[in-house]
Symmetry: C2
Subunit: 492 residues, 2 copies
């Protein structure tokens, strides 16, 4: 870095010469002021010059805000002028109800959603059977695994046979709900397993201690322990007594509370709020109602025309056109994603939490400040992140595998679920969503490098860039393949 | 503000209930941790909830930066795809040289630019004549005023007779240079006038003192004064001796230095730098060369197509279309203005300053942080601002008029010069530029109100908004009128 040190010494010399010059000019200035020409010039640097050391550009933040708003309003008006008003609430009702050409008025999505109660209750029954020793534990766990695999496979099978009856929104919703149930039941089964193991361990310990002592000694010891713990903290004991203990948790009320609660991690005693804040509830409810309409309107008015426009440019393989379309698509896509994020993770999950007195509202962390991609993935979706850590990462490391192995497993499970959520509703088993996940680890390495070498700001910019540009790229890929599959044969 | 206080008390109560709940849950948590279900939920709020008091959104600044960049690149690509490459350096040479259809190869712009030396030298000759008492002061000042008025009127007259020989860029340059010379000569005349008045005042004072004392006493006093001042600060006396004094300043070298110097305010002893920083000079020179090409390219490629596109929407009077066009035009216009600002006020004026050892480089202040329009007008163009304060505002207040009167005069002179710079080159005496200036005082009041009532941020946003949206509005008005005048008769 010779040039830098050169520049530094140059700046130093410059500063010194300025100081000397200032000394002289100060005297000259005094003399000049005594003249009659009313002098007003002073030796000083322009603000953009290095030597001025000026760094207050707070106004530029407002400038950016305004330029973004102007761009947004302009895009909105251009869209209205170009396409007219395309928002059609009626169309959405049809889409949501799954009314399509080949419809036999069976509404398979709704039937499947109602049916999702069955595997959940089955899971409870199996747990109960294990708890009361009707079922040997190993067979019980085998049944549980078959049961949750069934949850994952059912939508795929039904879609295969009843495909034309499904709307895209309908099957997407079914896949999402079934995936959530799969994750919740996994957590339910594993947590109950931990409880059984823990109880058994305690009983074994007590048994061993009892065997090593004679009966009277044992009774004395037990009493002493009991009194000691009672004196230690009376309140604590009361609190502990209020807690639900295994196997008292195995009932329908507890299961349905967990299924509805805004979390994927089961535990016996969720932290609870004392009251429902009505103002908070109304706000979240209004957000959900308005938010859904906003997202649907943006989708109809902005997203669909943009996506349709992109297909030709992808077939032509003109790189300038592709880039232009990609950037054009990225804006509505990103805004819809932001709305969707707020709507799902703040409005909807808080609404559910408030209704259910569920006190843990950490559904997202400050992913917008994430300085590398790993941080982003572990902050934007806290329910899934917490599930993956508690039910995959920690168990694997406790089995003696390394952290890298555990991370890799979490990562592949995550990639699989992304593929599941995209490929099943589209009925196209393409590589794009999986590929989108596969590039995350290299991106994480690059963004980590950017954070360390170029500073936190550039790491954060990389995270945003991958978010803003990555999604529309995948969407264009899918839409391109979808359009070729469905429209090309008609043209030929 | 009942709702606010209600909300506050509500928040307080909520906070209290949270604290109580925390106390209970802390104990429960202790007890929960002793269970076997590995609990991980804690009572906590979502970050977007008021009660979380989370406020770190630094990542959103990077988001804004990225969205702006993406929008910019997208617009660039769209422009290339729509219009192809329109940058044509050859065309610019023709435009700059004033080569147009009716051209008689006389290049009147260049002749006028060279001729501008004549009124400057005339001004010097008149000053000299006044200084050596050849010309009575009153007649001299009368001649000077006619001379500078001639400077202002000459381009208008020549354009009237030789109109078709001028290019638009040529006549714009001529108007700008002649206006600068007008302002500089005004300052030159007034400063020399102050010097004469000051000298005369001093002489009168000395004469009075001499009359009141006898000759020997006078001589003693003079000597004592001289010695005292000599002892007081030897260096200061040397510095004072080095200063140029009236009328020694009245020579060609001094005049031409002032005409070339990056300032509009004349003084006898400008602050000087000790050396030319070569690296600095080369940087500024490169900026000027690249900057001019960038501005010209943006103009040909982006601005002209946008302006042409706007005309129809203005004739149709469709408000949605007009707004959309206005917003579309505002982006390239604003970017060109920003480039132009940096190019003129930082690169070019610093280049001139460095070459001429001119030490006062305050050509602009931090107008981007201006919180109301008045601050913007007094910071973005420091040479004109300093000129207006020194040569119009202060003299008027010293004549006994109020500050409001002085401000109004400065404002009308400024409005007149804006109109001059737009109307003369366009040969269209329309009201738009003048109207643009007339709305500045009400805007200043509104932005001042916004600053006080809504906070500094909103004042700053108003300044930016008026800058970004005001200019393209005026441009569209002019272009609309220009197009109607020049193209409509052909169609009919």
């Amino acid at each position: 870095m010779t040039t830098e040190s050169e520049e530094n010494s140059l700046r130093l010399r410059r500063a010194q010469s300025v100081t000397k010059a200032e000394e002289i000019t100060e005297k000259e200035n005094k003399a000049r002021k005594l003249q009659f020409d009313k002098p007003l010039h002073k030796p000083r640097d322009s603000l953009f010059s290095w030597s001025s050391e000026f760094a207050d550009f707070t106004g530029l933040v407002n400038w950016g805000f305004l330029m973004l708003s102007i761009g947004g309003v302009r895009l909105f008006l251009e869209n209205i002028l170009k396409y007219g008003i395309r928002v059609n609430p009626l169309e959405w009702i049809i889409v949501l109800m799954g009314y399509s050409e080949g419809n036999t008025h069976q509404y398979p999505s709704i039937i499947l959603l109602i049916f999702s109660v069955v595997p959940a209750v089955t899971s409870l029954l199996i747990e109960k059977a294990i708890a009361v020793d009707i079922l040997p534990e190993k067979i019980g766990i085998g049944l549980q695994l078959s049961n949750i695999l069934f949850v994952l496979i059912l939508p795929v099978v039904v879609l295969h046979y009843k495909g034309p009856d499904f709307s895209f929104v309908g099957i997407s919703t079914v896949c999402m709900i079934y995936l959530v149930i799969f994750l919740k039941l996994w957590s339910y089964i594993q947590t109950n397993y931990w409880c059984r193991k823990g109880m058994k361990g305690k009983m074994m310990k007590n048994k061993l201690r009892r065997q090593s002592l004679s009966a009277p000694n044992w009774n004395k010891l037990m009493q002493a322990e009991h009194e000691q713990s009672f004196d230690e903290d009376k309140n604590e004991a009361i609190a502990a007594a209020r807690l639900v203990k295994y196997p008292d948790n195995l009932n329908l009320k507890d299961l349905f509370y967990f299924l509805l609660a805004p979390t994927l991690c089961y535990e016996l005693n969720f932290p609870r709020t004392t009251r429902i804040r009505k103002r908070f509830l109304v706000k979240r409810l209004l957000e959900v109602v308005f938010g859904i309409n906003l997202v649907l309107a943006l989708f109809q008015q902005w997203m669909i025309p943009s996506v349709i426009n992109t297909v030709d440019s992808f077939s032509d393989m003109d790189p300038v056109k592709i880039t232009e379309r990609l950037l054009k698509l990225s804006v509505p896509n990103h805004l819809i994603w932001l709305c969707f994020f707020y709507l799902s993770f703040h409005s909807f999950l808080n609404l559910m939490g408030e209704l259910l007195h569920f006190a843990d509202r950490k559904f997202y962390s400050d992913w917008w400040n994430a300085n590398n991609i790993s941080v982003f993935w572990s902050t934007w979706n806290m329910p899934v992140h917490m599930w993956a850590v508690r039910h995959v990462y920690i168990p694997i490391t406790e089995m003696g595998y390394s952290k890298v192995h555990a991370s890799a497993v979490v990562f592949f499970i995550s990639a699989f679920f992304h593929e599941y959520l995209v490929s099943v509703p589209l009925q196209m088993f393409r590589i794009w969503a999986f590929l989108g996940m596969i590039v995350q680890p290299p991106l994480a390495v690059i963004s980590r490098w950017a954070e360390v070498r170029l500073g936190a700001r550039w790491g954060n910019i990389m995270v945003w860039a991958s978010l803003i540009l990555g999604q529309p790229l995948a969407i264009m890929m899918y839409y391109h393949d979808y359009a070729i599959e469905h429209f090309k044969p008609m043209q030929e």
